[in-house]
Symmetry: D2
Subunit: 429 residues, 4 copies
């Protein structure tokens, strides 16, 4: 079904009733929108057909607020795997709540959604500007995290017990769905609690959001692993460096790392299926020609090759077979069969990427993301995630953001550039 403008409409708890305490600020009017499509022809066609072109609400501080400044009781929670920039986001949210809106109290829930369930015994942490001073210098999340959903009713109970007005949920797909369900339950109860998502996906795969925080840091760190793989590949006769990178369903990290580092010869992503025969044959040809090869594989690539049905993890994500180890073994077996001695070195830098602090770009990006999340909440938006589209911060309804995963389009300029950079064939089937 084609997208409707109604899909872009953001839920609000109610109209703005209080004046913003911010001074000398260029407030954003509620009717400002950034176009979904960037191409002139597409937008013109929509308009000529009498439709309003699809567009996102632009994020930013509002002149009139739903919540009364000085009375706000906020909560923050970080869920799922680590991603560079989590502490930057926490800090930005806390500072904006305190400095811009004089929040009364800010709870940091510990260890993901577990922190919203009494039984786990994780006491929430009272946050203020002192507590978040310099936390961005370290990777990870000061709040801790956990995977998986918790009972929605009990989480909303907890928010109500603590008198919380707004909950900031920092997490990925599954976490945002949890936020959506909480928003629905809150609505059902007639409560006034805003639920604002901050899109955490190191894979950069959340729909309708052009870039998520930590992605650029991850690409940069992946470069360290690729450089090491290249050094090892060059250091041995028929050396092969094999690097497994993040990317369960979308290969953006692998693709951008291949563009950033000129040493990658094969970039394997979930979006572009390949057969072992074709891949191994192409690899062998490359070795015969050049004497070494560097392969980057996203963790979700080639899942069909493994015939694995491994269930789901605590977050409900489909468990993946380990394509890195699988390829390592298949490559060794192949070159054993053809009696061509190779030296394969396998690198899995996963946690060394997830655990680094955000780089300068991501730090600035997280700051703005966090501020905009607080502005959204204060204005009464709910069931919304703060996005980024064509250089503007946006309000994206959580149902829209979770309706479709963002993936590499094999026919796109991005993927063509990757192929141009690696020199691998477009098809390995």
């Amino acid at each position: 079904m084609p997208l409707q403008q109604s899909d872009f409409t953001v839920d609000r708890l109610g109209p703005g009733e209080f004046d913003s305490p911010m001074r000398n600020v260029p407030f954003i009017r509620d009717d400002r929108r950034v176009l979904y499509a960037a191409e002139a022809a597409e937008v013109c066609a929509e308009i000529e057909a009498g439709r309003k072109p699809l567009a996102f609400e632009i994020a930013g501080p509002r002149e009139r607020l739903f919540f009364k400044p000085g009375t706000v009781r906020a909560g923050l929670v970080t869920c799922g795997g680590l991603c560079p920039g989590l502490n930057d986001v926490i800090r930005a949210v806390v500072l904006s709540l305190e400095h811009h809106y004089q929040a009364e109290v800010i709870y940091g829930f510990r260890y993901g959604y577990e922190g919203l369930i009494d039984d786990y015994g994780h006491e929430p942490w009272l946050l203020d500007s002192e507590e978040v001073d310099h936390i961005e210098d370290a990777g990870g999340t000061i709040l801790g995290s956990s995977r998986g959903p918790q009972d929605v009713g009990r989480m909303v109970d907890r928010l109500e017990q603590l008198g919380i007005n707004m909950l900031f949920v920092i997490g990925g797909d599954g976490t945002l769905r949890g936020g959506r369900d909480m928003a629905a339950e809150i609505h059902r109860r007639g409560s006034n609690i805003a639920v604002i998502g901050l899109p955490k996906t190191i894979d950069n795969d959340i729909g309708f959001i052009q870039m998520s925080f930590g992605f650029q840091t991850a690409v940069a760190e992946a470069g360290q692993a690729i450089a090491a793989a290249h050094v090892e590949a060059k250091g041995a006769r028929n050396g092969i460096g094999l690097v497994k990178l993040m990317g369960r369903h979308s290969g953006f990290i692998a693709a951008h790392a291949a563009l950033a580092g000129s040493q990658v010869n094969f970039c394997l992503v979930p979006e572009c299926p390949f057969t072992l025969e074709s891949f191994l044959g192409t690899l062998q040809a490359r070795l015969e020609r050049r004497g070494h090869a560097v392969i980057v594989v996203a963790e979700g690539a080639g899942q069909d090759l493994m015939e694995a049905n491994l269930g789901r993890d605590a977050s409900g994500n489909v468990k993946l077979g380990d394509i890195g180890l699988f390829l390592r073994d298949e490559i060794k077996a192949h070159f054993g069969r053809v009696k061509m001695p190779v030296g394969l070195k396998y690198i899995d830098p996963s946690y060394m990427i997830r655990g680094v602090p955000a780089n300068a770009f991501d730090s600035a990006f997280c700051l703005l993301l966090g501020h905009n999340a607080v502005h959204a909440a204060m204005s009464g938006r709910t069931n919304v995630v703060v996005g980024f589209w064509r250089n503007e911060f946006t309000h994206v309804p959580i149902p829209l953001a979770t309706s479709a995963r963002k993936q590499i389009v094999p026919d796109s300029r991005l993927w063509s550039s990757v192929l141009a950079s690696t020199g691998q064939p477009r098809e390995m089937v």
Copy 2:
């Protein structure tokens, strides 16, 4: 005068007559455009008023080429101050010429426009994929650079003598104007030489181009200087760390560095005038309250305070008074007068920023920029610079790109975010 769509029209040497040798590539149709405006209301208003909305031609490989593949003779030149990513761009242009279009010969001109003038005796360097292998690992430009214009007629003579079809000019404002003048002279002579610009401005201040290469690397490196300034400021009673950053007319590096690093308390940029009295008073108040301060000043800030008229440098840029040394002395004098002992440490990291290799983001960006420049030239575009707008690479006529400098808008969300991050007052006058 308001912009016209004609301002966005790109010059072409002629229509495409040859088939592209690229295979399995998503070619870009010539009529694809990315909208200049992103906001829905603005675009709708234009259309409803019966005008076509302003839009840039989208860059990328064309199916039909003006130049015959295999016969191309290309030249590259790098001009002006160093900027991270120059070698990445050189490498990308050379590899695309060689791999995508089988160029016959590629000349690298040495030391900027000097390399196009016989008298200097700089022999051009024959470039190929071997010569550019791994050059991106080092900062700077393998071709060398120089500042300032050279005689346009003699430069075109040189291109004609060497039988060159396309010249890639990597440089800033003044350099691009040189390219524009060469394109005009070439047109006057009826020659078929494409002149393609690649926008090099560490200040990120070229008009109609959202981001230029090396900018993000510069922001990240600036962070090192700011961190050191912060350490020094905290290490002394009433410690003041003062960092001068690049930014002759546009303070983007200073602004983004202030967003990326939470330690900046004052960010002074050319776009936002201030008086010494107000600034020093605010600084004193900060010291009395917090005991230390970090100040970041763009080199073009506060020029009116210095009453200097220092002429122009070899590139024709107005020479600036040194605001860093000026502020250093004024701050010391002020606190001497008020008998408040301070410990001021001044840091000018300029060359340490300009000389670093591109980071991962800029490396990938430079690769795509270089490829798109070659595609533009092969298709017969000329007098055009490759830009980036709302996530798409674009063709920007050089006259448009050099018609207006990009600057921080004091009333923008960006600047408001900087103020929110530093805590400095919006006005210091």
Copy 3:
């Protein structure tokens, strides 16, 4: 058997017959020695007992040379696993041969000792100052490497065929033994070929050599993995970060990384046996008390726990069971049994450490090591490895260097400091 001074005596092909071409250089006299023991009482006791105290010959340029400058034909070979600084050493040897002694030809043998055996078809690479320009910017070895010995007679044949006077062997224990055997074979044949070792051991475990190149870089890089492990450990309830580091028989990298990073709570090394029961109990107590733990384990630790007999690798080293994966599984099993949910993250940064370029310290160290190796060869030393002892570069007979592995002494100040830093008990048995 106690050490004798004769164990420290260096083999020489013959006396110096030619004047050194080096000018204005403080030549080292042949009788200069650095004491083996540093403690006053020990040295005094030896002397008072009428013995000369044990001492190493000091390395450095000699005034009189065995080989005639300008006529030297040299070979270099790098063997075994990668280690930061290999390219620095290659470069230093080549530059010293060329600049100090005007070598006639310098062969770089490819892929370790394989390069000295015709059958492999690896043509030697002619090296000079141009070829080694900037090679130190990349990790690994430009010559490539391989593991394992080759036929000594055939290798010496090859040296003789090429008219080589001196072979520089960059490698570890097994490689140096190969060098020793070549020196013996050369002696048997009455040839005049010097064999000079450069001690490559990322584990820093070669006897009678206080520090080997690449070690400090490895410790620094290990810190990145430990930092990531700490971030992951803090990010989960009862989070455990487990890092496997190099150290087959000697835990110096693990120990120094534990001293350098304050986050390590358990440092497990081959020299200090432990039982699973005791270790797991201590770990559980730590988690109950602090909620997270970081464990660093050297690859050779706890081998007795695995009862594995896995043969030897191509270099003849005993294959080790994988203590990292073993501990990972045992820890998970233990906390499963005691029903204490933990979040374990396992990091194996091996190749990401081996493949980095040398840091500043190691670069300078490699330069001096390489120069001293060339000085040793020119003076006619053979069967010797260049060492470092009490701040002086030394000549260590290869038989001495390979007679005993350097290990951590559990009763030493070093290990006590590690325990003081980690807080782990001295005994976990």
Copy 4:
């Protein structure tokens, strides 16, 4: 006057009366000594002449303590310019006091010796393991610093008022002299306060101490500036990169940075005088031959060329003329006179080096230094600085350490290696 063993004798407040609370630790016996001389001939000659060879007391934990564990009241102060590792040292001292000896109270005095004088109003900071958690992640000193001496009597008064038993003084030459004077005053008063120095000199120039903390980090950071200078030098016709580094009287940072980075062509240090004529002529020859040059100059080099008599700074150090700016101007003037266009870029990275956190090597070194300082104090040593000699931590009497500055010996292997690496002539006079 030649050194006497009595110069190496360490002052003690009294004998050990209490048992150390440390368990399972290899205590160091009081009679253990590390030889001052490393060369066999020198030591043998001394012994044969019937003298005990000069030797330092070895540092480390003692079995019997002068101070009663659990009752200790300690103070720390950091003085002079910043140096990487200060926070590591503070942390190590605090943790050892708390964990090894259960100190009763630990005062961190603010802003150097000012913190020991009431009038400044700097309240001391109560330190414990919580306060120093992760402080080593940032550069600088959490205590702040200041330059210059204060009244010795009043400082000792303050120590007595606070009931302090031991003062840890982290600073350079002048600071240690202050410590010596305090120790003398304390002795005069018959008080029992230990004064222990920790040698802070980024220049690595304190006598009788082989290496001081932060030095290796400084050398590594200097490499960044040199790399940038090299990029700029290569990027222009006759490009000159000029880098001023620390080194008031001793050029160790410049020398080691020249060894670590292969790009340095001239290394100018205080220990090796040169004339402008010779230097400029050699530089010109280099430019004519190679087209670019990188110059590293220690701040204390060439002072005689400037005829400046600029008095002393607050720490009592002779003020130096700015050799960096002087050379910059002289070089420009020279090439103006000979009409040879050059492109000179000047880099002064001073604070960017001083402000970085310690690298892994220095972190481990600082940890051990701090522990040994506490062990020394607990055992009743006083007027002593913790040193490092031939791989052992030592007790060096402050009068000995401040009796002679450590400098580069022009006739040494170190300086010869620098000349071999840069290619500059031994004499430029």
